[in-house]
């Protein structure tokens, strides 16, 4: 099966910018993969997200080289309104994404744009409100719900459109830790229950790492590192050079590896870290 996202020799420079925001990007993402994209500010993460959903070059002026294909078709070749059926985007600012007067209207808006029937809208609304636990908020207007709830609404609104690829551009950057966790809980459930391709651009690695099958590091508009999540965090030098610091647990085990104390896989979740540490202590006891 061909990859759902294929990016070949892709470069993008915004009009009047001296340097390209993205340069020589080559990426291929298989359907159903959960990808984490990280990198310092200005590394081109949002430009990458906007390139996937067609906002670039559609809404921005600049010079494009190379190709960005979704399901085998170049993003420019999709007619207006077609690409959102393939690629759904959740932006970082929950405030600016709320386009309707109640939560329910917001969830329904995208589905109506796709021309779905009432029966299908009802069915998807039920599914998505159950997944994101938004049922009690359906009647609420945007000014009566918190930033975290708004972001879950934005996520649900995109999910309800059932795109094959979901791109989340720093979805939790404006949220408190509890709201952040709730958004990632939804993503975890989505990963378990559906076959969506999810691309999450995030600074907060604690929640992202346990879910990601693959990690991509962007630095100065280029792909600096691209591999499966475990091996990705072994490249500590490259990560530090790009100003990315792994979560505490990963950094701790990486330090142990460097000292030759630990030789196993780097644990990516807190539970795995606890288990690995217990094993390590147990082994030491018998030595």
């Amino acid at each position: 099966m061909p990859p759902i996202v294929e990016i070949e020799n892709y470069s993008w420079r915004y009009l009047r910018a001296e340097q390209p925001a993205l340069q020589d990007i080559n990426l291929s993402i298989e359907e159903g993969t959960f990808v984490g994209v990280i990198g310092p500010n200005g590394s081109g993460k949002t430009t990458l997200a906007n390139s996937l959903n067609g906002l670039i070059p559609g809404q921005y002026q600049g010079i494009k080289e190379g190709t960005v294909k979704i399901a085998g078709t170049e993003v420019d070749a999709y007619k207006p309104g077609e690409l959102p059926q393939m690629v759904g985007v959740v932006f970082s600012d929950p405030e600016a994404q709320f386009t309707a007067m109640t939560v329910e209207d917001e969830l329904v808006f995208g589905m109506e744009n796709l021309g779905l029937s009432l029966a299908e809208i009802r069915e998807r609304l039920d599914w998505v409100t159950d997944l994101t636990q938004l049922k009690p908020l359906l009647e609420k207007p945007p000014y009566e719900i918190s930033g975290g709830q708004k972001q879950r609404v934005a996520l649900a609104a995109v999910l309800a459109m059932m795109p094959r690829v979901m791109v989340l551009d720093e979805p939790t950057s404006m949220l408190d830790p509890v709201s952040r966790k709730r958004v990632f809980d939804v993503l975890a459930r989505l990963k378990r229950e559906s076959h969506n391709t999810v691309i999450v651009i995030e600074h907060n690695l604690e929640n992202l790492v346990p879910l990601a099958d693959r990690m991509i590091l962007l630095h100065n508009g280029r792909v600096a590192l691209d591999s499966e999540t475990g091996p990705f965090f072994r490249q500590a030098a490259t990560l530090e050079q790009a100003g990315v610091y792994p979560p505490g647990g990963i950094a701790f085990f990486h330090g142990l590896m460097q000292r030759g104390v630990y030789t196993g896989e780097i644990p990516l979740t807190l539970d795995a870290a606890v288990a690995a540490l217990e094993g390590l202590i147990e082994n030491r006891r018998y030595e």
């Binding site: 405030e95 600016a96 386009t99 009432l118 207007p141 000014y143």
Partner: protein
């Protein structure tokens, strides 16, 4: 009470059983009534009627307090325009002089007539804003089969108003954090310094516009092309049912308006000549 962008609506109200279209129809049609009524006592009666409707709808009547300054300002402006700056009219009856300015009975009468035409319209608007959520306005417009783009632009305007209010709060807090605060300062100072809020707010609005348009595109909305011609399911309308009562009320409002026109132009009702209040006021002012 629940806050809306338009005002405050009661938690529960019998008026919620009525279709939003009927409420909008009442606002649009009944607001025309005062334009065809010259005798102020009839318009006063209309105000009482709407106030009773507000009571029935369980609107917290304390809300009216915030409209008192509006009513007083309106009265002052009309009084100034008609009575003080009304000009020299030898053909009118002069009832006295105020700081050397001639005060005519006809000008006072006209000011009262105009004021009592505007007041019911304000009260009706207050009634509408305090019984309708933003969604009701959208539903009413969609029921009227107003094209989706028009309805949606209206909805976006409401949404944008909410965002501007929220952004204004952010800008204000940011400026306060930097030591700029107009609190407790004189009005001219505050007006002069208002530009300090307006410039960042304008810049923020431009950014919001870009983000908002990106969000619309991400939701598959298109103003042009085949995607813009897709038949919409109008899901929001499924929450409302236009009942027999709604049909009756709509007909009654229409009939009342027709009756008003017939009585006004067919039988000369509601005119100044038929007024009971104005001749008495005239006698009082002219010491007859």
């Amino acid at each position: 009470m629940n806050k809306t962008l338009l005002g405050y609506v009661p938690e529960r109200s019998p008026i919620y059983a009525i279709h939003p279209f009927v409420k909008l129809f009442f606002l649009l049609v009944a607001s025309l009534f005062p334009l065809f009524i010259s005798a102020p006592e009839w318009n006063f009666g209309l105000i009482i009627f709407v106030l009773l409707l507000m009571l029935y709808s369980r609107i917290d009547m304390r809300i009216m307090r915030i409209y008192v300054p509006v009513a007083i300002s309106m009265a002052s402006i009309i009084f100034l325009a008609y009575v003080v700056l009304g000009g020299f009219h030898p053909e009118f009856i002069e009832i006295g002089r105020l700081l050397g300015i001639r005060v005519y009975w006809e000008r006072i009468r006209d000011a009262i007539v105009v004021y009592f035409r505007i007041l019911p319209m304000i009260v009706m608007m207050v009634f509408f804003l305090n019984t309708s959520r933003e969604r009701d306005v959208i539903v009413a417009m969609r029921t009227l089969r107003i094209p989706f783009v028009v309805t949606y632009v209206f909805a976006m305007a409401l949404r944008a108003a909410g965002m501007v209010i929220e952004d204004f709060g952010i800008v204000r807090q940011a400026e306060q954090a930097r030591g700029f605060d107009t609190h407790g300062k004189s009005l001219p100072y505050r007006l002069r310094k208002y530009v300090m809020y307006m410039i960042p707010l304008f810049a923020l609005s431009l950014r919001r516009a870009e983000e908002f348009s990106n969000a619309l595109i991400a939701r598959g909305f298109a103003f042009t092309g085949p995607a813009s011609k897709i038949k919409r399911a109008d899901y929001v309308l499924t929450h409302y049912r236009f009942t027999r009562l709604d049909a009756v009320l709509t007909a009654l409002i229409g009939l009342a308006f027709s009756a008003l026109l017939v009585l006004r132009y067919g039988f000369g009702w509601f005119t100044l000549d038929r007024s009971v209040f104005l001749p008495r006021l005239e006698d009082l002012l002219l010491h007859r």
